[in-house]
């Protein structure tokens, strides 16, 4: 993280009353937290909310000025537990993570938080990682809100609404003594828009204005029997009515009147813009959101306010709930509300729209056309119906021209990534020991599940690989291998995996990718991240060997078989994997695969190199290459690498028809190509080029001599 600058973002966080903020949704949320006077902020990184915490961590000066405590937590449970500060103190706090996975990890703390309830406003900002671009299991945060009685915001995806809802969330939380979750979909987090800022508020109790006395002892505020029975009653008899009152009084949900009053649409706030676009497509709304069909936009999706629902439904022939994901909790609840109120308005939802999957405009148009045809037959929906036909013709045409599926382009390891060689070595090791069971994990290394490696028999969650191979080892002739990143190791793997394996004398193999950061989420620091001085000294070299926290921890815990291997030494890595597979040692075997995240190395190196070049100083750059006249176009090298810079190009030899391998000038000279050429006995086509810029007189003299002695070739 140290190598990324957030100065522009930090400037936006400092805006005052009346100034205009132009920027991303998630940054607007960050600004809104400061405008709400938060005392503390925590969280665990993950797209699409990483930015919130990253920027705050870097904005030390501003946070110091306001007295806001910022904590980069080591997992979501640790972040959720932070909110415990608001149980007994009148302080506002916010935490953030990616959902559903983060909420799963945080679940225990969340239950224990919401049972006693909060005094100060507690807000959980979750990135609802759902639909296109999502990287996690497709489940809803909604279930957690319901089961733990936390309120759930799903604001309309425009910056003024999002910001207002953040501010209102704290008030709602305090008015009802319950934590509030705000779910933001991927595109809402990344939406670029504007809002008029207010001044930041320095919290009354803070790192600057210290609380003198700890809170008094109140057994009622502990999530411990017997008061937990009372808490359950409080949730439904006191907190929920208070929340509903607040939602109604502050008009958190919004009604957009229409002209065709026989039908009404109830939509999750986050889907509102998409719904308007779908109505436009049918000719029932304009670009400014003026709609012919009445809409109730729920910025708060839990709890619902029964009076709002019945008032909206009364007198209509039908209402439809537009609710993404499944199960359809909102629709079910509205059904119950309507029945209890004895309203005969027909209820639609999942029967008209999609059961599972993202509610794109196309899905919405198709559903609306069906709905209107049934309940408002007088409306001309031919435009909407034609839309579906038009698209199916378009796609049919495309299919006919392409005559087959397009090759997929999943994300891959970066150029020069230190994790790629480990999988090359594993592929080569399999030639000796046969196929092995690989328990994959969450992190960059999960990209090895894609071609050309296709490794991984299961993924059970972040830091869970070793734990998930415990069952497999029990019935497997060959030892299973668990892959884990250092991010996953510190997040969960150490406890869930290593301690459990040691306690049970597991005969497992664990490969820890020691790259120094939680790279997949944007290279945030972990406890074993190399120190700043070591990084500065290393420049473009790997410096993860300067920190031994992982090794010392494992040794301290009693791991006896521990090997550290430099990732780029593919032959050594292969040998070590084979050794781990074959050793008679019965117990946990850990291979530390060492190689610093290449993104961080390059970010460090680039400015240093640019500076030296600018000053006319000597700089050596290494890159690899393939001799195209000796390459025979078999591409074995690519099957062991997949590096973006190792690609193919048409052979310039007119006799050869197959494309030849080719290294583009983006190569950072990590060394894998050479190591693979040796370890896998690939071919003699690879070479390493060392390019000396601003050579000194020794370089030049040597070069002249060489040229003279090699008949001018070199």
């Amino acid at each position: 993280m140290a190598e990324v600058s957030f100065s522009k973002e930090i400037k936006l966080l400092k805006l005052g009353q009346g100034e205009t903020f132009h920027g991303e949704g998630i940054l607007a949320v960050t600004k809104a937290l400061l405008q709400s006077g938060v005392t503390y902020v925590g969280g665990y990184q993950g797209a699409p909310v990483s930015h919130l915490l990253d920027v705050m961590v870097e904005a030390k000066d501003l946070m110091g000025e306001l007295g806001v405590h910022v904590q980069a937590c080591t997992n979501e449970a640790s972040a959720a537990a932070m909110l415990g500060a608001s149980i007994m103190y009148p302080v506002r706090g916010a935490v953030t993570w990616k959902s559903i996975v983060g909420t799963n990890v945080a679940a225990d703390a969340l239950s224990n938080l919401s049972s006693p309830g909060v005094m100060g406003g507690a807000l959980i900002v979750v990135g609802e990682d759902y639909g296109e671009g999502a990287s996690v299991i497709q489940e809803r945060t909604h279930a957690f809100a319901m089961k733990s009685t936390m309120w759930l915001m799903d604001p309309r995806p425009n910056l003024p609404t999002i910001v207002r809802m953040v501010e209102k969330s704290f008030e709602l939380s305090e008015a009802s003594n319950a934590p509030v979750i705000m779910e933001l979909r991927i595109r809402a987090c990344h939406v670029r828009g504007s809002f008029t800022a207010s001044d930041n508020i320095a919290p009354k109790i803070s790192a600057r204005e210290l609380q003198k006395m700890p809170a008094e002892f109140l057994y009622d505020r502990l999530a411990h029997p017997p008061v937990t029975y009372k808490h359950e009653k409080l949730k439904f008899e006191v907190r929920m009515p208070a929340a509903r009152q607040f939602i109604r009084d502050h008009k958190l949900n919004e009604i957009f009147d229409g002209t065709h009053n026989d039908v009404g649409l109830i939509v999750q706030g986050g889907l509102y813009n998409g719904l308007i676009r779908a109505l436009q497509e049918i000719g029932l709304a304009d670009a400014y959101g003026r709609t012919d069909i009445p809409i109730l936009a729920l910025n708060v999706v839990y709890p619902l306010v029964p009076e709002e629902i019945t008032a909206f439904a009364a007198g209509r022939k039908a209402i439809a709930v537009i609710e993404e994901g499944q199960p359809e909790y909102i629709e079910h609840e509205i059904g119950a509300i309507l029945r209890r109120a004895d309203l005969n308005t027909v209820l639609h939802g999942k029967d008209m729209f999609l059961q599972a999957g993202e509610y794109t405009t196309e899905v919405l148009v198709n559903g609306l056309v069906k709905l209107l045809a049934q309940h408002l037959p007088s409306i001309d929906t031919s435009h909407g119906a034609g839309f579906a036909r038009e698209l199916s013709v378009l796609r049919g045409k495309a299919q006919a021209i392409l005559a087959g599926p397009l090759p997929a382009r999943p994300p891959g390891f970066c150029i020069g990534c230190p994790e790629r060689p480990v999988f090359a070595a594993l592929k080569l090791a399999e030639r000796e020991v046969g196929k092995v069971h690989v328990s994959a994990d969450i992190g960059c290394h999960a990209l090895a599940t894609f071609e050309p490696f296709s490794f991984g028999n299961s993924i059970l969650g972040y830091g869970m690989s070793l734990a998930s191979s415990a069952g497999v080892q029990g019935f497997s002739q060959k030892r299973p291998i668990a892959i884990m990143g250092d991010g996953g190791f510190w997040h969960n793997g150490l406890l869930s995996g290593v301690t459990s394996s040691l306690l049970n004398h597991g005969d497992q193999i664990l490969v820890i990718m020691k790259n120094g950061y939680t790279s997949a989420t944007g290279t945030q620091d972990v406890i074993s991240t190399p120190q700043a001085e070591a990084r500065e000294k290393a420049a473009g070299a790997s410096t993860v060997d300067s920190d031994l926290t992982i090794e010392n921890t494992l040794k301290g815990m009693g791991v006896k078989w521990l090997r550290t291997v430099n990732n780029y030494r593919v032959g050594d890595m292969r040998k070590t994997i084979v050794e781990a597979m074959r050793t008679p040692f019965d117990g946990l075997k850990v291979i530390i695969a060492e190689g610093e995240c290449q993104l961080e190395r390059q970010r460090r190196l680039r400015p240093i190199r640019a500076k030296l070049l600018g000053e006319g100083k000597r700089v050596v750059r290494e890159r690899f290459g393939v001799d195209e006249d000796t390459c025979t176009g078999d591409h074995s090298c690519i099957r062991l690498s997949g590096c973006p810079t190792l690609t193919v190009k048409p052979s310039s030899d007119p006799l050869k028809t197959d494309p030849v391998a080719h290294v583009t000038n983006g190569c950072v000279g990590c060394g894998l190509c050479g190591a693979n050429a040796h370890a896998a006995t690939l071919c003699p086509s690879f070479f390493r080029a060392e390019i000396v810029s601003n050579p000194n007189w020794i370089d030049r003299a040597k070069a002249g001599l060489r040229r003279a002695l090699t008949a001018g070739a070199a």
Binding site: A398, F413, T657
Partner: protein
């Protein structure tokens, strides 16, 4: 009052600066006081995955008291302007129906960043570019094809800058070029290079638009009468002369004559193709890669020139080249006379210590020692005719030639497939052994039985499938199924 927002879809790969482009567009629109919204699915932090950015803006400022409701998700068939930095990614969006022939102005780079799935194939896995081009033509209202990658490289910038210029020139924005350029300048770092890239793409797009407006669609030039065979023969002759000597080139021509005679004077295009392919494979086979050949190629002057060019080196920079070599004992044996070679091979087969062979070595061909070591190895080429490998290859070539002659007389389809069979003999080391084994399996399993039974025409498709199967996966699973 415009009641429909203008919609822009940008397709890029991770790390190409798509976010910067979106930011430029947003700030330019804000400068022009137009309501605008951008959003994206940037995916994970890693590079190379497909990403997209979506922008909506109004052509006029919003009337007092109204705020446009802009969508976050692009709507298929409703995109006004689409730009993509990579040809396959363009196709991916078109496949999903985003562009419409009624509405969409499509700007696509013709450059390709091959996917791993395409690159890792043992033969040629690249997606057919003609299909991509046709898709772009047929599914857009106007199609502007540019090499955006080249425009970026030539101007020392990343692809986002030429993308911005191309969009501006194509009329994607309700504001002027100057507003766009001001946005780039306000962005700060790298602005000069970005502006150059912007300008270059702006001009290129205007030229492309003028051409498509003035001229009717260019009609395909009729292909010149086929002298493809002549060309391949000449290339092969040159290759053999340069590989060995003139006598070797003569041997090549003699062999070509045999094939020609067998083919007869037919107008059957299949026969012509089989002959051309046969001659091509013959040339490549005769110039097989052994240690002397590799050592020779690696120490040629033009090779170092090529490396300098590929690395975009300036004249004042100095180059060192280090080779990664790991000659196996078979490869050493191959360049020795049969007697000596066989001793080595037996030693290897007996599992005895074969040190120092089979070790990875790094040799600097720009160093004096390394250079002359390689030249010395290249010198073994002069005694190639008496080497173990030469004897083996000659025998195999002769067998294949005889089979080719029979095939050319019997079935053009079979001959066409058989001509391709040597394509499997690729690579070095393990890769080469695998290729040889596959070749042998197909030879014994399909070619020989077909030749002795004379059922060539019937077996031709099977032979073709088996060759494709051998190139399908390195483990040989598909081939085993094909031969079963």
């Amino acid at each position: 009052m415009s009641l429909r927002p203008r919609t822009l879809l940008i397709a890029a790969l991770g790390g190409e600066g798509g976010g910067v482009l979106a930011e430029w567009i947003v700030s330019a629109a804000l400068q022009a006081k137009l309501p605008v919204q951008a959003t994206s699915v940037p995916g994970v932090a890693q590079r190379t995955g497909a990403t997209s950015y979506y922008i909506e803006m109004m052509d006029e400022p919003a009337p007092e008291g109204l705020t446009p409701v802009l969508a976050l998700v692009p709507v298929p068939g409703r995109i006004d302007y689409m730009i993509s930095s990579e040809h396959l990614e363009t196709a991916r969006l078109l496949e999903r129906g985003f562009a419409s022939p009624e509405r969409t102005v499509l700007i696509s780079s013709t450059s390709r960043v091959y996917t791993t799935a395409e690159k890792m194939q043992m033969g040629d896995g690249r997606f057919d570019p003609e299909r991509l081009d046709r898709l772009c033509h047929d599914l857009s209202h106007a199609y502007i094809a540019l090499d955006l990658e080249r425009l970026a490289l030539d101007n020392g910038t990343v692809v986002s800058a030429p993308m911005f210029g191309a969009l501006a020139a194509a009329g994607a924005f309700p504001f002027s070029r100057e507003v766009c350029e001001a946005a780039i300048r306000a962005g700060g770092r790298g602005a000069e290079a970005s502006l150059k890239g912007f300008a270059a793409a702006f001009t290129a797009t205007r030229v492309a638009l003028d051409q498509s407006a003035d001229a009717p669609a260019p009609t395909q030039e009729p292909a010149p009468p086929s002298d493809a065979l002549k060309k391949v023969v000449a290339l092969g002759q040159g290759r053999c002369a340069e590989y060995q000597d003139e006598a070797y080139a003569e041997l090549f021509l003699d062999r070509v004559r045999l094939l020609r005679d067998a083919a007869g004077s037919t107008e059957d295009p299949r026969q012509e193709h089989a002959l051309e392919e046969g001659v091509r494979r013959l040339a490549l086979w005769m110039a097989y890669e052994d240690i002397p050949r590799v050592a020779d190629l690696k120490t040629r002057k033009e090779r170092f020139t090529r490396i300098r060019r590929d690395a975009e080196m300036r004249d004042d920079q100095i180059l060192h080249v280090v080779e990664y070599l790991k000659p196996g004992i078979e490869e050493i044996a191959a360049m020795l006379p049969p007697k000596l070679g066989n001793v080595l091979m037996r030693r290897a087969a007996s599992g005895k210590e074969t040190w120092p062979f089979g070790r990875g070595v790094n040799i600097s061909t720009t160093g004096v020692t390394g250079y002359w070591t390689m030249r010395a190895l290249a010198g073994f080429g002069r005694i190639r005719r008496s080497s173990l490998r030469f004897a083996e290859e000659t025998a195999a070539i002769e067998r294949w030639l005889a089979a080719m002659r029979q095939a050319l007389q019997g079935s053009p389809a079979f001959a066409g497939a058989l001509a391709e069979l040597p394509r499997l003999l690729k690579g070095y080391g393990d890769t080469h052994l695998r290729g040889r084994a596959n070749y042998a399996a197909i030879w014994d399993g399909i070619v020989m039985p077909a030749l002795s039974s004379g059922q060539l025409e019937v077996v031709a498709p099977k032979l073709r499938q088996a060759i494709a199967a051998a190139l399908a996966d390195p483990e040989g699973k598909t081939l085993r199924r094909a031969l079963a």
